[in-house]
């Protein structure tokens, strides 16, 4: 079964003036079809305002579709009876690390989700320990979140979602406010979750480097899915990506430019090692 499935999903933001009259309607998500397999690492890419965050919020039943339907683990998000099941199945990590940590101590924050679900005290402690270990933040369990770095805070947020035992975890630009080191830290933790624990990961981002390891990539542009495929398939279309206002990783760009000048390199090179190997093979 598909963990997330969307058919003809449409979401419209309605802008109103001060009297409440409709000023205009902007379609943030426009007839999107999605099929995400259990255990996959899926990346959704797009520049600002492409509708990727709006789409992500549908997967956690924070926003409801204007038209069309989205199913999470087979459950329709419009069905209010299963709202809390959906939110537990699809955990969500947001952009700003400060604005999603509720507890004043790391372990208390991780325990917040299970507390809300009514998990017995003893099990909460087990879940907190296991989740903090999974993101490598167990040594910091007694710290105040205010004293952690951005990357560490984001890992705590991920642990907070893991403690709810979700089937899939949605990260809405988790690295947008972090420095390069924090970004690496978070992506490493997310990859480990996917590879070691087999967790379905849906990563929303506009950093191309972060999607290299994804199983499947969707590129969004003005609410529509503009491209879809494996990272290699996506990165081999450099011109197309540029027209969607996305930056291609340096290595891929270099390989592309070399190709254009007549060097015979394969399409869609993703890493420095790959490029080095390809040049050696010439």
């Amino acid at each position: 079964m598909k963990i997330v499935k969307a058919r003809d999903l449409v979401f419209e933001y309605i802008r109103r003036d001060e009297e409440g009259n409709v000023e205009g309607i902007s379609t943030a998500v426009d007839h999107v079809n999605l099929d995400i397999k259990q255990g996959d690492f899926v990346a959704i890419l797009g520049h600002n305002g492409s509708g990727k965050s709006t789409l992500a919020k549908h997967m956690n039943a924070i926003l409801y579709p204007t038209e069309g339907t989205i199913w999470v683990d087979g459950k329709d998000t419009k069905d209010e009876d299963v709202l809390w099941d959906i939110r537990q199945t699809a955990g969500m990590v947001f952009q700003n690390p400060d604005n999603q940590i509720i507890g004043q101590v790391v372990e208390e924050d991780v325990g917040f989700g299970p507390e809300n679900m009514g998990v017995p005290t003893k099990e909460i402690w087990e879940r907190v320990e296991e989740s903090l270990r999974a993101v490598g933040m167990y040594e910091y369990r007694k710290n105040s979140p205010n004293k952690l770095s951005g990357g560490q805070k984001q890992r705590v947020s991920i642990a907070g979602v893991l403690a709810m035992h979700p089937k899939c975890i949605i990260l809405d630009e988790p690295t947008a406010m972090l420095d390069p080191n924090g970004r690496k830290e978070v992506i490493r933790a997310v990859r480990a979750l996917n590879e070691v624990e087999g967790m379905t990961v849906i990563l929303i981002t506009h950093y191309m480097e972060e999607i290299i390891h994804a199983d499947r990539v969707y590129v969004m542009d003005s609410g529509k899915i503009a491209m879809e495929g494996t990272p290699r398939e996506i990165f081999s279309q450099v011109e197309r990506l540029k027209s969607l206002r996305l930056d291609v990783p340096q290595v891929t760009l270099l390989a592309y430019e070399l190709q254009k000048r007549g060097v015979k390199l394969p399409n869609g090179i993703l890493t420095t090692e790959e490029l080095a190997a390809a040049i050696k093979a010439l």
């Binding site: 809390w84 969500m92 400060d98 507890g103 208390e108 299970p114 507390e115 809300n116 017995p120 907070g160």
Partner: protein, 268 residues
Amino acid sequence: MLRDITLGQYYQTKSYIHDLDPRVKLGGTVLYIISLFCFKNYLGYLIAALFLAIVVKLSHVPFRFMVKGMKAILMLLMITVMFNLFLTPGTPVVTLWKLTITAEGVRMALTMMARLTLLVIGSSLMTLTTTPNNLTDGMEKMMSPLKVIKVPVHEVAMMMSIALRFIPILMEETDKIMKAQTARGADFEHGNLLARAKALVPLLVPLFISAFRRANDLAMAMEARCYRGGEGRTKMKPLIYKKKDFLAYAGLVVYMVVSIVVGRLSLG
């Protein structure tokens, strides 16, 4: 500059008093304050002071931290003592110019001083030995019977703990905005009171906007983590009375009985 402000005045150390259930400490402080108002003679205050001294000793909090709390009310204390000293009618003892000190006045002033000092030290001992977080938990649990009459106890406690979490963040933000506005030529330090109050507008407006934005984000994050009010919620760190808590309650009862009985004796 703004970062130096610490919230509450929790003194971190390990002690018997620190480990007590917050409910014991809250209840104990209230009872202690009540006891202070029951005494009719000095002996009662003596017992109260002795009791407090023992608790302070047990708490391992240096005495100067208690005195810090006293400084804040020093002015109030002086005024109270002065008024009582000079304005209580009775047998005159000393007359200075137009002011008369009476025997009753001296007694009254001493009583007031003892009462206020013990009250302030007693209650600051509670905040020194309990984290704000713990205090909130204790209050939530103690007030929970009020839920029957529709007092939103859980919600208030949740609001308090969120406020505690966000105070340092908003302080940092204030600092940042202040620097940003100073860089653009804003002046927060000169001019009269009115000018300074006006200068705060460019500080407060962005601060409020950012606070609302944060609140919105936080609400969404809480909902995404299945928060739906206090109903059906379990606790990661439930408050459970332990042996030492009962011991502390016993000690408290002994103190209450002894001090009030002795304190209300008429010693002629």
